[in-house]
């Protein structure tokens, strides 16, 4: 939004804005996540581009009204492409004092502050560890405050239904929702449909929520409180059919699609852990797609079961987060040794140790690359956004089967729980994944389970195949026969084969692309879930005339073949990461490039602003026209 100074709330007017960032904050019990999802879907349906950032406490139900119990959901919806949930808020809805004080600093000056004034009584203040009422603090002046007795209004709205007070108050969130919908000219239909579906079994609750929603809308319309409503035109996304999708959901769907494309059954072995569990929850719904999910006794059993299934010829997938991935290390080494295709997915969270389970971070990269005994190389891919999880899953399985190697996918808590519009692919149009299992008699002579094809991949012979009986295991294998071998030269040969096999992947992956000039002052090199912030920051800097280019990696191992050339074309390289510089170390070691790191480890995504500042610091004003030239040329 343009204006930055509080404006009087007088006669209604519609203001067209390019984008809006709203955060809904309340008690974890208040259903803020649900509201956020509704606002997201509705905005997406309205044709906006959207990006979201749910942020909830580690506790299941932290004590009501306390700061620890605050749950928030941030949405940016816009008439242009958005890749982040937004840095600062245009509007904050705070359902109680704790929600207010823990979120207010993100509201821009002049931003709209909507509170439920009924929940600002002394007991509420006490729960939020406040001695004074923030609504009476001088600093609220900086915002456009709308105090609304949501509890009372909701109770009246549902009065005639004879609900208990507790039940009635549970409808408050939909009152707030209705108000927000009115404020931003959102269509209530989708949410009404949702309410009908969700509460079909309890008609009076369904009715109550509908009334609350409408009451909120009506309140906006009738009250004098709001001078302006806002309108966000629909964004011009590429043509296609869209839906809103969350990262873990896209990952699950991508895995199902990869199985389908390769004509394989999906065997999924996992052990619950935040923020990866939702992949299990999603996949176990789709038994009629032939998806086989096993909740194992621990992460070690989960990956071992997956290895067993892979030996049997299934598409084996296991997922976890940092601490659980650590437990899989030994078995990953086995998978490397027996050269079976397998996917190991790490949805990263704040570490080390149990760390910050519900916060995001990128600090598991080196663990996945090196966290095994001996030389045990595996390919590593990282998804960059919720929707990208789908494509990454499909490509990972393509690589795993083509090279007979376990493949790692890195996601993180931010994209796992975040959502964005997703152009629905036509599954029939996707390229199939060809897999051939050798059969008896194809060759006269003895079967060699560790013979090699042009990719150095060994044949995937599966039990049940006559004449191809063979044994695999963790002891070093003789190349060709696969027999146990302690031979010095064979061991060295096998170590090189396993390394070369992974290195060869760079021949089949697409050359790395960049956004911006192919050479120049500054290259911003990023990977994984920071794509949105880095891309937006580079775009803004470019528009401000800075000579900066963005290069975002999906492939962390091996690197794309042309990465070295790209790096060589820039005066300096900036590597922003949500860790202490893990990709940076790899880049420096491999290319001897003195890359600069921009590192934050705060359990939350980058803000676009901080990255723009860093880019400005590393580029020169005058470079403006340079930038333009190279864009022209």
């Amino acid at each position: 939004m343009s204006t930055d100074t509080p404006q009087a709330l007088t006669a209604k007017q519609v203001q067209v804005v390019s984008g809006i960032t709203v955060r809904l904050a309340g008690d974890s019990g208040d259903g803020m996540q649900l509201l956020g999802t509704q606002l997201t879907n509705t905005s997406a349906l309205a044709g906006n581009d959207v990006a979201t950032f749910p942020d909830f406490p580690a506790e299941i139900r932290a004590p009501r009204g306390t700061r620890a119990g605050v749950s928030g959901f941030q949405v940016q919806f816009a008439a242009h492409e958005v890749h982040t949930p937004g840095d600062t808020l245009d509007a904050l809805v705070a359902m109680n004092p704790a929600a207010l004080v823990t979120n207010i600093t993100d509201l821009r000056h002049g931003g709209l502050l909507i509170v439920n004034e009924d929940s600002f009584e002394d007991k509420d203040l006490k729960l939020a560890a406040l001695t004074t009422n923030p609504l009476e603090e001088p600093w609220v002046e900086k915002y456009r405050l709308a105090k609304i007795p949501m509890t009372k209004l909701t109770r009246t709205a549902v009065e005639s239904l004879g609900l208990s007070v507790k039940e009635a108050d549970r409808c408050r969130n939909f009152f707030a929702m209705g108000l927000v919908y009115w404020l931003y000219g959102r269509d209530m239909d989708a949410t009404l449909r949702f309410i009908q579906a969700k509460f079909s079994k309890i008609p009076e609750i369904q009715e109550a929520n509908e009334r609350a929603l409408r009451a909120g809308w009506a309140f906006g319309e009738t009250t004098e409180l709001f001078g302006t409503t806002y309108q966000v035109e629909s964004a011009t996304l590429p043509a296609g059919t869209y839906r809103n999708i969350m990262g873990n959901q896209a990952l699950a769907w991508g895995l199902m699609t990869a199985a389908h494309l390769s004509g394989k059954e999906l065997f999924y072995g996992s052990y619950p852990i935040t923020p990866a569990s939702d992949i299990l929850h999603e996949l176990c719904k789709y038994k009629n797609f032939g998806v086989c999910t096993v909740q194992a006794e621990d992460e070690i059993a989960a990956i071992c079961a997956t290895i067993g299934a892979a030996y049997g010829g299934a598409m084996g997938v296991t997922t976890s987060s940092g601490p659980g991935i650590a437990l899989k290390a030994e078995a990953m080494g086995l998978a490397v040794m027996i050269e079976l295709p397998l996917l190991v997915i790490d949805v990263q969270r704040g570490g080390p140790s149990t760390g910050l389970p519900t916060k995001t971070e990128q600090a598991d990269l080196l663990q996945l690359l090196y966290g095994r005994n001996g030389e045990a190389p595996v390919p590593v891919l990282a998804a960059r956004s919720p929707g990208d999880c789908f494509d990454t899953a499909v490509e990972a399985w393509r690589i795993a089967t083509q090279f007979m190697v376990p493949v790692v996918i890195l996601s993180d808590g931010y994209i796992a729980n975040g959502s964005e519009p997703w152009a629905i692919p036509d599954v029939g149009a996707l390229e199939p994944i060809k897999i051939t299992h050798p059969t008896a008699g194809t060759s006269g002579e003895k079967f060699l389970p560790y013979s090699r094809d042009e990719n150095l991949a060994r044949p995937w012979a599966i039990p049940g195949t006559p004449e191809l009986m063979h044994r695999v295991g963790g002891l070093e294998k003789q190349n060709g026969t696969g027999n146990v071998s302690y031979d010095a030269d064979n061991h060295e040969k096998m170590v090189h084969i396993r390394a070369q096999k992974v290195a060869n992947i760079s021949k089949v992956i697409a050359p790395q692309e960049v956004f911006g000039p192919a050479e120049g002052e500054l290259l911003v090199l990023s990977w994984g879930g920071t794509y949105g912030a880095c891309h937006t920051a580079v775009q803004q800097a470019q528009n401000a005339g800075r000579n900066v280019t963005h290069c975002h990696l999906r492939h962390l191992n091996p690197f794309p073949a042309n990465l070295g050339q790209i790096l060589g074309k820039f005066e300096s390289v900036l590597i922003p990461e949500l860790n202490l510089g893990q990709l940076r170390m790899l880049i420096r070691a491999k290319y001897l490039v003195d890359a600069t790191g921009y590192n934050r480890v705060q359990g939350k995504p980058f803000s676009v602003t901080e990255l723009v500042d860093k880019i400005n610091e590393m580029t020169t004003e005058k470079s403006a026209e340079k930038a333009l030239q190279s864009r022209a040329g």
């Binding site: 059919t241 065997f267 194992a296 059993a301 997956t306 086995l334 295991g473």
Partner: protein, 338 residues
């Protein structure tokens, strides 16, 4: 059972790898009896998979001309579970040692049993860590002097049968490496069971724990120190079958059948289908106070994990029809652009 298949012999099951166990190791006889028994299953070689952990015993799969996975220490039950769920058409054997299954692998062992995955697990119990050259194991007796316990082991040993029972195993048996007829017969019974069958085999490690089970191995003593369980038969033992087991309250007691005081009908009768309480009581009969029961302690039919997992898939398909990804992706709220 007869199939149209070419009839196989023990030698068909031997791989081309030379065997690397110590001369005199009990593992040889278990390998021999396994090969001898397998043809009776009437399965082709390619339908059989041996999965092991790490240990001397776990080298077993390399010596079988079947499919096999020599996995990592203690994890064979998990690998086997995944394989069975993915491939219920295969006959799976898990080969493990007392350390592999009850030390590092104890948790996978009990979870395999509670799931009742359809496979046969053979536990080579030599009461020692063989491959790592002689440290005590969870089945080593109290006071056992080993490389890691020069003054004697102090923890109380686990009884594999009791642990298996604690995890609700549906088939539990015990045999002895040197008692080859009994061993072959027991392995066959186990292989026939539907669900997880556990066979504890007393196995002599002649290098690091020689004679641990001599009482049960020596032809001279074994009739007195072990008792063959027979379903529906009274519990009798002794070279001249002159002793029996009688129940006294909840306690078993050894009684003589010669002094005319006790008749066979007074004895405890074995029932493989009985409540687990009988199995528990048999498991607690240890040498020298009691003859140690060998043979099948328990054989009951309960639902099989992978059958149910796949059953849910089938009924989901029956109910909702085979899933269609395009339908799924386009379900719920979607919108068109352009």
């Amino acid at each position: 059972m007869s199939t149209g298949l070419p009839v196989l012999t023990a030698t068909d099951f031997a791989s081309d790898q030379d065997i690397r166990w110590c001369p005199g190791c009990g593992d040889y006889s278990i390998l021999a009896q396994m090969k001898k028994m397998l043809p009776d299953l009437g399965l082709p070689l390619e339908k059989i998979v041996f999965i092991s952990g790490i240990g001397c015993s776990s080298r077993f799969p390399y010596y079988m001309n079947t499919y096999g996975v020599h996995s990592i220490h203690g994890r064979a039950p998990a690998v086997a579970t995944g394989l069975r769920v993915a491939r219920p058409d295969l006959k799976v054997f898990v080969i493990t040692g007392d350390g592999d299954s009850l030390s590092i692998g104890g948790n996978h062992f009990i979870h395999l049993l509670r799931r009742n995955v359809n496979l046969t697990l053979v536990l080579f119990n030599n009461r020692i860590y063989g491959l790592t050259k002689g440290q005590y194991s969870p089945t080593s007796l109290e006071g056992a002097v080993t490389k890691s316990t020069p003054m004697g082991a102090v923890d109380h040993p686990l009884n594999p049968i009791s642990v298996a029972l604690g995890a609700e195993a549906s088939f539990i048996a015990r045999s002895v490496d040197s008692n080859i007829k009994h061993l072959a017969a027991t392995l066959y019974r186990a292989a026939q069971h539907k669900g997880t069958s556990v066979v504890e085999v007393y196995q002599n490690c002649n290098v690091f724990n020689d004679g641990a089970f001599s009482y049960a191995q020596d032809k001279a003593t074994r009739d007195e120190t072990t008792m063959e369980l027979e379903h529906g038969k009274p519990m009798i033992f002794g070279k001249n079958r002159d002793k029996g087991i009688r129940l006294n309250g909840l306690r078993p007691e050894v009684v003589s059948l010669t002094d005319g005081k006790v008749s066979q009908d007074d004895l405890l009768f074995h029932d493989e289908k009985a409540d687990s309480t009988l199995v528990h009581l048999l498991a607690k009969m240890r040498h020298p106070q009691f003859p140690e029961p060998i043979g099948v302690f328990r054989d009951i039919d309960i639902p099989i994990f992978e059958d149910q997992v796949r059953g849910q898939i089938d009924s989901a398909i029956a109910k909702r029809g085979k899933g269609d990804l395009n339908k799924l992706f386009n379900s719920g709220d979607t919108w068109k652009v352009g």
